[in-house]
Amino acid sequence: MTDMSVAYPERLTVDQLQIAPSRRHREAIIRYTLLVTALVSVLVSALIVWILLREAWTFITEVVWADTWGQQGWFPRRGLYDIPTIIVPSLIVTGIAMVVAGPLGLGAAVYLSEYANRRVRSWLKPALEILAGIPSVVLGFFALTWIAPNLVGPIGRNTFGVIGAVILLGYAAVSAGIAKAKIKQYREGVADPSARVGAVASLAMLVAVFAVAGAWILGVWLDFAPNNAGSLAAAGIGVGILTIPLVASISEDAMAAVPDSLREASAGLGARKMATATTVVLPAAISGIVAAFIVAISRAIGETMVVFMAGGAADAARFTDSPFEGGLTMTAAIASLASGTDSVVGEGLTFQSLYFVGLLLFLFTLTLNIIAARFVSKVREAY
């Protein structure tokens, strides 16, 4: 008979399989500490919403609503809170910013994603990232000291001259198209010999029109006295430059997510690069591009310093709907009311008006960001 206890080892207990209690304890402590750090952001959100709602509620319930619409302007220290006075400039600045950032950002993104080779990309992307990292106060300074006198000044002073120049340039573009068609006909030998004359004539006209348009623009640019006055247009261009990298990077990510098989299929069907880019890649990436624009709009509405420095208005403003005048956006209204004096003083609700505007701003940007997130998740689903 053999000894059974040797063949059958001692039974393992749960305790033996578990790690030491001290280690287990430490794990639990670490886990809950990390949970607390994750909850900090929830606390921050709750505080933001609570504080905005609390102060804004006082404003909403106590303000004379007749003073918030159709007044001469935003004069919080005198109890005049004309809401259109700060909403309309916000829209103007955002609109101008998107006119600048939309085409430039999207164009840069298409070039980087579809055309640039690796070596060019390795140069251009860091350059765009440098632009993305430039603080908004720097753009504010640039908008006031360079954009306002050099770009906005001439346009604002010579609105008609600029319109004339734009019409001339449009005409030049049309005649360029005609000239191109004539040359094509001539090259292909479709038309009779007179096409050659037509081509030369339209080319000459093109050169002439471009020359006149150029001279006109130059004239407009020379015919101004530089001034340092800020305006909504100057601020808008500044905000636009600030948002170019945002539009470019989000749209480029969206285009990079389009599988190469689509591009190859398009090329296989005989499409040129431009046709592939415009009819295959852009439509496939459209959700991401829309998201890029929405995020940029949200960023432009929330941008404070550029407008505060280059928007051309102090802590109060009359109603304006002209981009060439000074004005207060929602953000600049908050900033300018809080700076200057040591504390926010004035008529009873001045302090609360800050939070009311802040709440409006918060709701605007939150809505836009949620919509943008929807679009981004669409891109993720598709590919």
Binding site: I48, I51, V137, G140, V295, G302
Partner: protein, 320 residues
């Protein structure tokens, strides 16, 4: 169709159109327009940097050390005009941001990526953080104003001393917190599963696995994110205006390591730039002072940004 193809003339035309090299004029134009977009953007960046550099020479070229050592003044011609207080203010704000936002943000990212169960509450936290990242900076200023200056909820104004460096630093720490969480989270997601499984396989607990495998592997990514958010915090001005950064004259002139001064009034580089730019209408000399302060700020910000970009590119290349 067949009859047409057999037609001698069509055949020649087809052969000609296949063989002929035609210039794709539209494609070329399209490409040129795209290039122009990029070049115009870079040109604007170049003009910005050159303008600022030229404007700044009046101060930085003529009186470099005086400018760095000077203080806030009401006249631009003042011999003692400079950014010394602003540099100290910005440095302390950076330190406070690093001490508050980095541990909390990285901790939150570890929890969300490694511990959190996939349920509604977790996705609520994640959505919440993404939305926080999109809140305009001035709204954080409003939060700081109510919470740290007026002490409306927890009476925190007694701790921070109201309009102080501490208030500014805490406000900006809250501002960059979501950015730190998001960028660190991305770094954690890039860690290969095999590393985790290897650690578990040799008997590591979850935290031991994270400490010895996940954190070291994700460290460059985390560092990139923290550098970028630090640059953001240093350049941010709007929230500081609301928590009462000084734009006019700052009486006291504490040393860099004067901890007792943290609950006193402060100023920072972006605030000084704003204030001097706005005063340049009244006193043109302030424009060059603002440009000089911008150069000082850009040196800090661009150093951090390019370090972050370089770090990221290096590790992307290494890890394919």
């Amino acid at each position: 169709m067949i009859s047409r193809l057999s037609d001698e003339k069509s055949r020649a035309a087809i052969a000609a159109s296949i063989e002929r090299r035609r210039v794709d004029a539209r494609g070329l134009l399209f490409r040129t327009v795209l290039q122009a977009c990029l070049l115009l953007t870079l040109a604007l960046l170049a003009v910005l940097l050159i303008t600022v550099a030229f404007d700044s020479t009046d101060q930085l070229g003529a009186r470099f050390w005086d400018f760095l050592g000077g203080t806030l003044r009401s006249q631009s011609g003042d011999e003692q005009l400079g950014v010394h207080q602003a540099i100290y203010g910005s440095m302390w704000i950076a330190i406070i941001v690093a001490l508050l936002a980095f541990p909390i943000g990285i901790g939150a990212a570890v929890y969300l990526e490694e511990y959190a169960p996939r349920n509604r509450f977790t996705s609520f936290i994640e959505v919440n953080i993404r939305n926080l990242a999109g809140v305009p900076s001035i709204v954080y200023g409003l939060l700081g104003l109510a919470l740290l200056l007026n002490g409306q909820i927890f009476g925190l104004d007694r701790l921070t001393g109201g309009r102080s460096t501490l208030s500014g630093g805490i406000t900006l720490a809250i501002l960059v917190l979501p950015i730190v969480v998001i960028t660190s989270g991305e770094a954690f997601r890039a860690v290969p599963t095999a590393l985790r499984e290897g650690a578990y396989g040799v008997g590591a607990t979850k935290w031991e696995m994270i400490r010895t495998q996940v954190l070291p592997y994700a460290a460059p990514g985390i560092l990139t994110g923290t550098l970028l958010s630090m640059a953001r915090a240093i350049g941010e001005a709007a929230p500081l205006i609301l928590v009462g950064a000084v734009t006019g004259r700052l009486g006291d002139n504490p040393g860099l390591f004067d901890l007792g001064a943290l609950d006193e009034r402060f100023t920072a580089l972006p605030i000084v730039i704003t204030s001097w730019t706005q005063q340049s209408g009244r006193d043109a000399g302030f424009a060059t002072a603002a440009a000089a302060a911008i150069v000082v700020l850009l040196v800090f910000v661009l150093m951090m940004n390019s370090a972050a970009i370089g770090l990221r590119n290096r590790f992307e290349k290494k890890r394919g």
